[in-house]
Amino acid sequence: MQIFRAHVLVCGGTGCTSGGSPQIRTRLEEELAKNGLDKEVKLVVTGCHGLCEMGPLVIVYPEGTMYVHVQPDDVSEIVSEHLLKGRVVQRLLYKEPLTAERVPHYGDLPFYHKQQRVVLKNCGYINPEVIEEYIGRDGYAALAKALGEMTPEQVIEEVKKAGLRGRGGAGFPTGVKWGFCRNAQGEPKYIICNGAEGDPGAFMDRSIMEGDPHRVIEGMTIGAYAIGASEGYIYVRAEYPLAVKRLRLAVKEAEARGLLGDNILGTDFSFHIHIKEGAGAFVCGEETALMASIMGERGMPRPRPPFPANSGLWGKPTNINNVETWANVPEIILKGADWFASMGTEKCKGTKVFALTGKVQNTGLVEVPMGITMREIIFDIGGGIPGGKKFKAVQMGGPSGGCLPESKLDLSVDYESLTGAGAIMGSGGLVVMDEDTCIVDVARFFLNFTRAESCGKCTPCREGIKRMLEILDRIAAGEGKMEDLDLLERTALMVKNSSLCGLGQTAPNPILSTLRYFRDEYEAHIKDKRCPAGVCAALLTYKIKPELCRGCTACTKVCPVGAISGTRKAVHVIDPDKCIRCGACAERCPFKAIVRA
């Protein structure tokens, strides 16, 4: 066997790939060959490291040096300096924003300090397209243990004892769900992995499927053994081409190695996995709609019961779990329920992966123990708000979730605390907002999304969301009345309580949570006809401060509608009736004489 003294890891996640990592890889191959290093240095394309903001990323082991924002033209320097002569290329190291110090070691980045990587432990570390790399990290050892040493009942018991709860949003105890399906009557039984991931801004499941696809497959196979299922489906949106490709490859490799398919590891247990591409509708993440979609029907939910455990795919017992839920299973079986239950809180065990986006320094993927506070995630790991702006709110759980204000930042991140505060854990999308964000506008954004994604089957969701959106539009246009707030609240509760599926039942959350924490901002729009964040165009006015205006005429030239009048060296005036509040004049004015009010 050949030993490589150094391994160069190039991130092949979606973010870094679009940033140009394939070219970096090609250049590395060329440069390594040119310098005769291809026998000493191994090139490994990995999944996502999480720090997407800093991509494309290149990491050099054994030192663990991380290079950020690497461009193809930087490659020859990395090869000739670092890989040949052992000299770190300082200018490509991560720069700590506060101290401006260069951080040479991957592990020393504040971004990784408070993280605890269980589900993501291989993401960014192994080549997801080579099954041996997964096996070299104890991959499939849990499956071997389950098949060789445990009965199906013992596997279910272990998962129950671990306290694993569904990571798809609702947090239902996974072991209990498996038990229902095991005890259900009917053959064959099915397993589904939910990789629909329809929340805007969420990319946790994508990164797991891309970066460590075998973990998902192993988790599903262990689940199939526990439940007694023989067929499995991974439902993944077609907008994730890289995930689809890697999953397909992983299934093929696992089959070739006898770790999937007929007679797994020489036993009499057989399990087959099929990849099903979805078209990406949000509602198709809902389990009954998802199953309809797999069966080739229109993706619409149906009432439950019957639950999938009793009547799922083709009327047979079916167990559906989220990607991240499945990805937790191998670690639990391998290291034991007690190890898993030692992480997290009383009622919420283990870790959770979040996609951190919005107005935060380090956007990216983070995995943290349950029970951490939102403040730690946003400020310690995320590095706080860029540009010296003030934190305003964090939106959790996407369109089904809620907005939490500053006062709730010290809340423990677990299912119960978040639900109590009016947000939800959701699947793990975290959008951070600063003072320039208008809360009414945020609610409108999410309602627009759910209105477009509502399947239309039940009336409360189809009509109710539309009516609420109309009210929000009115308020944003400065035409709202105080009674509207009551109407909004009543409609929201009606939609929440009477919709058929989770889409409608949770769609009002963005409204209810913002009414709860930011009511004054709604009132400012209605009573004072004012948008405090300066976002709602209809409520803005632009004025020229006469004492600052020098009459340079710059503003008249950029105004697209000719709303500004004035001659050279004389004070200019904006005609409020013509002004469309685009703000171009204020941006252009060299004397900061134009103000928004």
């Binding site: 066997m1 054994p62 052992g86 070299g136």
Partner: protein, 123 residues
């Protein structure tokens, strides 16, 4: 084409094999450092490096191999340092590929310094 794994032992064997090949991704406790400045390369450090990697592979050893630049002892290049945990850093000079099995066999594995090649010690 990959072979099917028939049982637990097959899986275990494959795991151990791949683990070995992935060792470079965590730093091991023992380090071998090769001088790779222009002077080192000119006097044959690349060949020494190749010999080291070959010897480590042959013996299945978990050792971190690093390079360093010129340290000012150009006439003694190629220079190879061996650092074992808790022991002095030993520098060998004028190393040739032929010396490598001795350095690794005696010093890296058994902790006995190859005295005739030593040009420096640091603690």
């Amino acid at each position: 084409m990959a072979n099917k794994l028939q049982n637990l032992d097959d899986l275990r064997r494959l795991r151990e094999e791949t683990k070995q090949s992935m060792l470079s991704r965590h730093g091991a406790e023992t380090q071998i450092i090769v001088g790779m400045g222009t002077c080192g390369i000119a006097s044959g450090a690349r060949e020494v490096m190749a010999a080291i990697l070959e010897e480590l592979a042959k013996r299945n050893l978990n050792v971190t191999v690093l390079q360093t630049g010129c340290i000012g002892m150009c006439e003694k290049e190629p220079l190879v340092d061996v650092v074992r945990p808790g022991e002095n850093r030993i520098t060998y000079g004028n190393v040739t590929p032929r010396d490598v099995p001795r350095i690794i066999g005696q010093h890296v594995v058994n902790g006995q310094i190859v005295e005739d090649l030593v040009v420096g010690r640091v603690d």
